[in-house]
């Protein structure tokens, strides 16, 4: 991206204005997320920077919103619910999804395209339609308003992400390895756990993290399929934003941002590890 020595003045001007524009767009991407974090430490119940905060005085900052977040049952109960629902939904979608992804990446699968289209569809169908459909269905089988109803509904929503990431990992998978294992007398189950699984594990884990964040971040379906007993953190934030906006939301948002940063770093590290394992790294 460096300019050649012979660049004209016009080219130089354009080059630097282009870089400035890019910097501004990156600022647009990141600033709204980052601005939440300092505001969560506001000592006042305001959603904007107080003069004390701008002067960096200690009196302008406090942890009271975090205190409220972790000690007020209105907030920590939904957090606990989210932490109960999301891992279970992840387990369901990862276990079924990984098997299906392995099946889909075999060489002769009839109706492969159609099957893929069905499995990816939960990502594409507008959430409000999925939510209304699932509400009627889960009501009719008595799972509406139950823990398992929400878990199954969220598992369906996480499946496309598992399928996409795991099939992407399997594209680079060398099939002669499983053949070699079979040749040396390992059964299909042993081959899967000893040879295939360790190699595709990074993809499976990132798929799982995607499924986890999908459930952990989901509002619409849980409102329809769940009841007050399954109120999750995003649901509580949604009601909070719609009705009376309490600054504790900023503390909740900061906690969620921390979680996303941790997940993002994990996924990035896994992706690099996976590329290295498959010899696809460009350095």
């Amino acid at each position: 991206m460096a300019l050649p020595n012979y660049a004209s003045t016009g080219q130089r001007v354009w080059h630097y204005s282009y870089l400035t524009i890019c910097a501004l767009i990156f600022f647009f991407l990141i600033f709204p997320i980052m601005v939440i974090v300092p505001l969560a430490f506001n000592a006042q119940n305001f959603f904007t920077f107080t003069p004390e905060m701008l002067r960096f005085e200690a009196a302008g900052y406090s942890l009271k919103h975090f205190d409220d977040f972790f000690n007020n049952p209105d907030w920590y109960r939904p957090l606990l619910n989210s932490l109960k629902i999301a891992p279970m939904a992840t387990i369901v979608s990862v276990s079924l999804g990984t098997l299906a992804a392995i099946g889909l990446s075999q060489s002769h699968v009839p109706f492969r395209r159609a099957i893929m289209a069905v499995l990816i569809s939960p990502m594409i169908v507008p959430l409000i339609i999925s939510a209304a459909g699932m509400y009627f269905f889960y009501s009719s089988i008595g799972l509406q308003g139950t823990y398992w109803g929400v878990v199954l509904a969220h598992a369906v929503l996480g499946i496309p992400f598992v399928i996409i990431t795991v099939t992407a990992t399997l594209v680079g998978f060398d099939k002669s390895l499983t053949r070699a294992a079979a040749n040396m007398g390992a059964g299909p189950v042993r081959t899967f756990f000893k040879v295939q699984m360790p190699l595709i594990l990074p993809g499976v884990i990132s798929g799982g993290l995607f499924a986890f964040i999908t459930s952990f971040d989901e509002v619409v379906v849980v409102i329809f399929v769940g009841s007050a007993g399954q109120k999750t953190l995003p649901w509580q934030m949604f009601t909070g934003l719609r009705e009376q906006i309490s600054p504790t939301i900023l503390a909740a948002a900061t906690v969620l941002i921390t979680i996303s940063v941790l997940l993002l770093i994990t996924v990035e590290m896994l992706r690099r590890r996976s590329e290295r394992l498959r010899g696809m790294s460009q350095g």
Partner: protein
């Protein structure tokens, strides 16, 4: 090889013809693959495809009318709705009998609510009639026609009966007519009154605002994707994290961030007042309107544009642009005639993806849209939770779903769903 073996089929070790043996192996492989896929496919079909199909069936289901007032529907069949007079006595006898049964079963209000979607005021009529009918001794207290009209004049209005007759089939297109702001009066499809027309406007707004968001994400995403594709992999990966962070951050966090930034006492207005750009009493209204939705959703969907663009641009060889320049093209021509056409697949992929996701958005328009920025999804949610008009939920949902599925199909044709990338 000798003459005899040349005419015989090749055989596998166990003596079966090789062709059959191969076919069997292939079949076994296919079955094993399907066996691995089947549990998930069954789960998605039972837990997702079927429920949506079932819900969409509600958009044509009208059995509540025939189930609740079967005698009336039967008696009304012979009445000519062009006659300009209310139906004859036997229809009223049938209705009185039906209502007594419905009172017992407590189904009359479900029916009244259903008919009220087509003819406003029916709920009140049925409630009053239901109360009066409870004391009648059928068939000795006749004539009922006069008694019904005594309860409320409107029972003598042919328009009411025409509506009941029009919506007495087991299936109806009434919800779809309502979904496109039409109604059927005396067999004719007409526009709804001006103040009840809302859905076409909302469909239009959803499509138009989504297209605008699509364009904005392209405008902002193209330079970033280009920058990433020209950098060394190590630097590009670092900057890519800045793109992926919003992608991984909770949708509600991003929406609340924009709420905090854009509101009247929010950060952006405060800064502009602080630097003297705005007067304190003249703050920008950037939230609870279309502008707020466009800003927030452009931010939220931007990664979905950048990632497909980036993955296409990575594959464009830089030598083409260099070749164009060495043949005398200036920077602009080299970009526009050589580079840009090669990036079009990425634009297509990103634009369709952003548009598909955008037309179905509910959370962000609900929270920052206000009355002028709401989408069709918000209307569906309102019909579900507020009005309880589940048939209309099905009809509006079906129209939205068909639009999305067409785009999904186009996306599959152009990009292929297996090529969706998530970072």
């Amino acid at each position: 090889m000798s003459e005899t073996t040349a005419n015989e089929p090749m055989r596998a070790a166990d003596g079966t013809p090789l062709k059959r043996s191969l076919a069997r192996a292939l079949r076994r492989q296919k079955l094993r693959a399907l066996g691995l896929i089947l549990p998930l496919l069954a789960f998605v079909i039972v837990g997702f495809v079927f429920p949506i199909g079932q819900m969409l069936m509600r958009s044509v289901d009208n059995s509540v009318v025939t189930d609740t007032i079967p005698l009336t529907v039967e008696a009304l069949r012979d009445w000519d709705d062009d006659s300009g007079v209310a139906p004859p006595e036997e229809v009223f006898v049938a209705l009185a009998a039906d209502l007594q049964v419905a009172n017992e079963a407590r189904t009359s209000m479900t029916l009244a609510r259903r008919l009220n979607f087509e003819y406003s005021g029916v709920t009140t009529l049925f409630r009053k009639a239901g109360r009066a009918v409870a004391d009648w001794d059928i068939p000795n207290d006749g004539p009922y026609r006069e008694q019904f009209i005594e309860v409320d004049d409107e029972w003598g209005d042919p328009a009411l009966w025409s509506a009941i007759q029009a919506y007495s089939g087991s299936y109806t297109i009434g919800y779809y007519l309502a979904a496109v702001d039409k109604t059927k009066i005396s067999g004719e499809i007409q526009n709804r009154p001006e103040n009840e027309r809302l859905h076409l406007m909302l469909f239009g707004r959803t499509a138009w605002v989504s297209a605008l968001i699509c364009f904005m994400t392209l405008l902002l995403g193209y330079p970033i994707a280009y920058l990433l594709s020209t950098l060394k992999a190590r630097h590009a990966n670092l900057l890519l994290i800045l793109v992926l962070l919003p992608f991984w951050t909770s949708l509600l966090v991003r929406t609340s961030a924009w709420k905090v930034l854009l509101q009247e006492q929010g950060v952006i207005n405060d800064i502009m007042v602080g630097i003297g750009f705005l007067a304190d009493d003249n703050r920008f209204q950037m939230i609870n309107n279309k502008l707020g939705v466009i800003i927030a959703m452009t931010h939220i969907l931007l990664p979905f544009m950048i990632l497909p663009l980036y993955s296409v641009m990575k594959t464009i060889p830089p030598s083409y642009v260099r070749a164009a320049k060495s043949l005398g093209a200036n920077d602009w021509t080299a970009f526009w005639r050589v580079y840009f056409p090669q990036s079009i697949p990425g634009i297509g992929a990103g634009a369709i993806l952003v548009f598909i996701l955008s037309v179905g958005y509910y959370i962000t328009p609900e929270l920052v849209g206000g009355p002028t920025g709401s989408f069709i999804s918000n209307r569906i949610a309102y019909q579900w939770s507020g009005a309880g008009n589940w048939g209309l939920v099905g009809a509006l949902g079906a129209i939205l779903l068909v639009a999305v599925l067409i785009l999904y199909w186009v996306y599959d044709k152009i990009v292929g769903i297996d090529n969706v990338k998530l970072g």
